[in-house]
């Protein structure tokens, strides 16, 4: 029976008693407070495995956790309807028949048996506030690697507090690898206390890559003869980050070794302070100790302090320390530039080389964890110094992009059809369903109020986004539904026989068919503004169309095929001059550029949420206040009425009168989050990114002689969509070959058959961009097109 006791905090004792796979984990509290214990091991998240044994649930009575055979644990689990799977936050590569292991959301209890070995990865996935407490005891001769994986892509603020106690018995090795990668809203504090026994070896590797503020304290005590501590710590900071590390190693026994290497790189206005202290007590004769602490500041506002110190009480020791702080060496950068690297790449090479250097030493065992660190550093450097054009904006926020299609990296270039969604949009929608879901404007209960608030707040965001009033914003399913709504209600109330409706030849079917239906009802007639061969509205044709005094002038702000940006303000002015109600289809403009409906002065503006990083199923119809109050409802039902009896009905004023039935509340909330996301980036920046990609793609595509490009060659009047054909090959055939290369584009008639006829083609290929697209995606498209040229022998 092996027994180990650990003090987790002064008032709490944890002990692990084990006897070949049947053990107890006992938590004793001086204060009898079950809450205190539950804080450490929440029963809901108790998952454990240890070869033959597994852990059961916390025992309320004696406040102990009992290990039991896995089979029983699963039975208990089934009763509790909980899952034990390999996806559990704790994964062990090699089951340890004689070790005991319990893992909670908030910590690990690992009691490694004598002679056992294995790698354990503790993934702290939770984005919320977290306090984890872990205890590791390494039995005689055991060899354990514990990876504390805290790489998080979440964007939420959180406080994390980690505490690890380790005890290394004779000849055991424990390697602790901490991977810390957070956003700048995370405050992190970690404490590690370890006791290193006779001939035991503790290897502590930390990578602090990002995070708002961190404070780590490490206290390692060498208690046994010949015990060894190796520490490697890299920090890479930017922005206003503030990192502080305090390591203390105490040699209490003879012949101990300690080897500390710290490397810090600070960018922006960040600050990194590291204190490494080695104290060799009088009992620590013949100890060997080395501390090196070097830091580099790569921007004028960054600050680094490296303070190694030694306190030597014994008289027969070998000890030394060195420290330096330096700036990025410009000469080295010039040298690398002279070898053909660009400045960003040169900087990256120097900084990553500086940081990674400390892992190349021979006395460090290789581990996947160290490989991870190298990746982390490179990845972080990319995001620090990345050129959004080279690698895309905020790509990490879009998990879907991180996959392979037919074995090739995904290059998603079909954004005019629909965009991908950032994780924050999904999180907000999930949170709405998990916490606040209720019907809106109906119940008077708390959830009803929360849901209503969120829905109305989304309406306000949409209004602000296009500079309208919230009372002018009607939520619909998509731009198509919005045009149908307006066409139907206008047909019913405003249109007479022989009225003219003016459209353009570059319309999407959704801005043609609803008007045809309206004409079928009213016997009104459609006129079409022609498109010039270079893909712009024909001025003469426009003049003739407006001379017919159309009742309605409906046109697209940006063509989904040609990418042409129409001057909506000028067209609206002329439409109004001709006496028309002006409808603008903003499905392709709202996602890519700043839109101001007051400035445009149109009567109606429509767009879809799913094309602007929002969810499907939600769209927006903006109507000027006067028109909105004048029009009768489109659909009848709940939510849009003031009073109903079988004799008469009165309708609500404002946008609600067009929102019969329960709307897509979660969709609206998601759209609100997408707007927040876009506004954080800034629509001007979104447009600039798209414009730059467009120019890059246009240049590359026009250099391929088999590619025929459509639409204006004047890029300043284009938004981010390019239509093209490859020789005489049908667009679908081209698209099939591109798909094999991981390149997703749209091929077909783009729901604009009249325009296709006008252009004299059956179909085109279309590449369209959004913020996460990069030059790399376009390069991939070009390479794939070159392959298609080979396949089709063009």
């Amino acid at each position: 029976m092996a027994t180990s006791k650990q003090s987790m905090k002064e008032d709490l004792m944890v002990s692990i008693q084990s006897d070949k796979g049947d053990g107890y984990l006992i938590i004793e509290s001086k204060e009898v407070s079950p809450h205190k214990i539950e804080r450490f091991c929440s029963a809901e998240n108790t998952i454990a495995q240890s070869g033959k044994t597994s852990v059961s649930w916390i025992n309320e009575h004696d406040r102990s956790i009992r290990f039991m055979p896995i089979k029983e644990a699963i039975t208990a689990d089934a009763q509790n309807k909980k899952k034990i799977s390999s996806n559990s936050p704790f994964f062990t590569s090699t089951p340890q028949p004689e070790s005991n292991l319990a893992c909670f959301e908030a910590g690990v209890f690992l009691d490694a048996a004598e002679g056992s070995s294995g790698t354990f990865r503790h993934i702290l996935v939770s984005d919320a506030n977290l306090a984890d407490r872990s205890i590791v005891t390494c039995g005689i001769g055991s060899d354990i690697t514990l990876i504390i994986d805290q790489r998080s892509t979440a964007d939420t603020a959180a406080k994390r507090n980690g505490y690890l106690e380790a005890k290394l018995d004779e000849r055991s090795t424990l390697m602790i690898i901490e991977l810390q990668r957070f956003n700048n809203k995370v405050l992190q504090s970690t404490t590690i206390n370890a006791e290193v026994g006779k001939m035991a070896k503790l290897i502590h590797i930390v990578a602090t890559i990002g995070g708002g503020e961190s404070d780590s304290k490490n206290n390692f005590i060498i208690t046994g003869h010949g015990g060894e501590v190796i520490q490697r710590h890299v920090t890479l900071s930017s922005g206003k980050e503030d990192h502080k590390t305090d390591t203390q190693i105490i040699h209490r026994s003879q012949c101990g070794k300690s080897d500390v290497a710290v490397r810090s790189v600070a960018d922006g206005n960040s600050k990194i302070v590291s204190h490494s202290t080695v104290r060799i007590e009088t009992s620590g004769q013949k100890s060997v100790s080395r501390v090196t602490d070097h830091s580099m500041m790569i921007s004028p506002g960054a600050r680094c302090e490296s303070i190694p110190s030694m306190e030597i009480l014994a008289n027969d020791v070998q000890a030394g320390h060195s420290a330096s702080t330096c700036q990025l060496d410009l000469e080295n950068i010039f040298y690398l530039q002279s070898r053909g690297l660009d400045e960003a790449e040169a900087k990256k090479q120097i900084v990553t080389g500086f940081l990674k250097g400390i892992f190349d030493e021979e006395n460090l065992p290789s581990s996947s964890g160290v490989v991870c660190i190298n990746e982390l550093i490179e990845d972080r450097f990319e995001t620090l110094h990345h050129d959004p054009l080279t690698s895309g904006m905020n790509r990490g926020d879009f998990p879907i992009l991180n996959q392979k299609i037919n074995g090739k990296p995904l290059a998603y270039l079909d954004n005019a059809a629909t965009t991908q969604k950032p994780k924050i949009v999904l999180d907000v929608m999930e949170s709405y369903y998990l916490k606040d879901n209720a019907n809106i404007n109906r119940g008077v209960h708390t959830l009803g109020e929360r849901a209503t608030c969120q829905y109305e707040s989304a309406r306000k965001k949409v209004a602000r986004f296009i500079n309208a009033k919230p009372s002018e914003i009607v939520f619909v399913r998509n731009a198509t539904e919005a045009i149908n709504l307006i066409a139907y209600t206008l047909a019913r109330q405003k249109m007479r026989v022989s009225d003219r409706i003016l459209l353009t030849a570059m319309e999407h079917h959704s801005n043609i068919v609803p008007w045809q239906l309206a004409c079928a009802e009213t016997k009104a007639m459609i006129d079409v503004v022609d498109v010039t061969t270079d893909g712009q509205l024909d001025p003469e044709s426009l003049r003739r169309g407006l001379a017919q005094s159309p009742k309605i002038f409906s046109f697209t702000h940006v063509s989904n095929v040609l990418g042409t940006i129409n001057d909506a303000k000028e067209l609206t002015r002329r439409g109004h001059q001709a006496g028309a109600i002006v409808v603008v289809d903003g499905a392709q403009s709202a996602p890519h550029m700043p839109v101001d409906v007051k400035d445009i002065d149109c009567d109606v503006f429509v767009f879809s949420g799913h094309k602007m990083l929002g969810p499907t199923g939600i769209g927006v119809l903006y109507m000027k206040q006067g028109l909105l109050n004048e029009l009768l409802p489109f659909l009848g039902g709940g939510g849009m009425i003031k009073e109903v009896s079988f004799e008469k009905v009165s309708f609500k004023s404002g946008p609600e009168r067009f929102e019969a039935g329960t709307p897509d509340i979660a969709g609206a909330v998601g759209l609100g989050a997408a707007i927040d996301y876009l506004e954080t980036i800034g629509m001007e920046n979104v447009k600039a990114h798209n414009d730059a990609l467009l120019a890059y793609a246009w240049g590359k595509l026009s250099s391929i002689k088999q590619v025929k490009l459509y639409g204006p060659a004047e890029l300043s009047i284009r938004a981010g969509a390019i239509s093209f054909n490859l020789g005489d090959i049908h667009a679908h055939d081209v698209s099939s070959v591109l798909d094999e290369e991981g390149v997703e584009i749209r091929a077909g008639n783009h729901c604009a058959m009249p325009l296709m006829d006008r252009m004299g083609v059956a179909s085109t290929c279309r590449a369209s961009f959004h913020i996460y697209n990069s030059k790399r995606d376009i390069d991939q498209l070009i390479e794939a097109l070159k392959k298609a040229i080979k396949v089709f022998r063009l």
Binding site: H730, D733, S736, N749, A762, S763, K790, F792
Partner: protein, 165 residues
């Protein structure tokens, strides 16, 4: 030679033409499978392409997602044997090549063969893996020809038979 072996022989001929050596380097392997030499040949030089005056069988249909168009014409003798068959159309390589292969294979056949024709036979005839999104292209020709024959026979096309899903 009976009709069955005739079809098989045609298929074999296609397979022998599809040697990997005949593709330029750098062509993705999947594309070698999908856009075979033979398929591209049928697309570039369609057999049985054109129209027929005084036809017995006629139908035309489109595939709205691709914009593929296929129109079939055929003349049939008293024994219900196809004496002349032609198609016209425009669209992607798969739809046009498939229609051309179908026309060629059905020449001289009894129209009952067309009635009996099913999706699997058609895909075997094309002899390349077709992704779900491209199935409509591959089967459009068969659908059109079946509609024409059924109209000629005065039968209603059953829903699932004309479906290209």
């Amino acid at each position: 030679m009976n009709e069955k072996t005739d079809v098989d022989a045609g298929k074999e001929g296609k397979q022998t033409a599809q040697t990997e050596d005949s593709f330029p380097d750098g062509v993705p392997f999947e594309s070698r499978l999908m856009y075979t030499e033979i398929l591209l040949d049928y697309y570039r030089n369609p057999r049985c392409f054109g129209t027929i005056e005084n036809y017995h069988v006629h139908a035309r249909d489109t595939n709205p997602s691709c914009g593929d168009v296929i129109e079939f014409f055929a003349r049939v003798n008293r024994d219900k044997v196809i004496t002349d068959i032609k198609f016209t159309g425009k669209g992607c390589a798969i739809s046009q090549a498939a229609a051309s292969m179908l026309a060629e294979a059905m020449m001289g056949k009894n129209i009952d063969e067309i009635v009996k024709l099913d999706k699997k036979q058609m895909l075997d005839m094309i002899g390349i893996p077709i992704s779900m999104m491209r199935l409509k292209c591959a089967l459009l020709g068969m659908k059109v020809l079946k509609v024409g024959v059924y109209q000629y026979l005065g039968k209603e096309v059953e829903e699932d038979e004309s479906s290209t899903d």
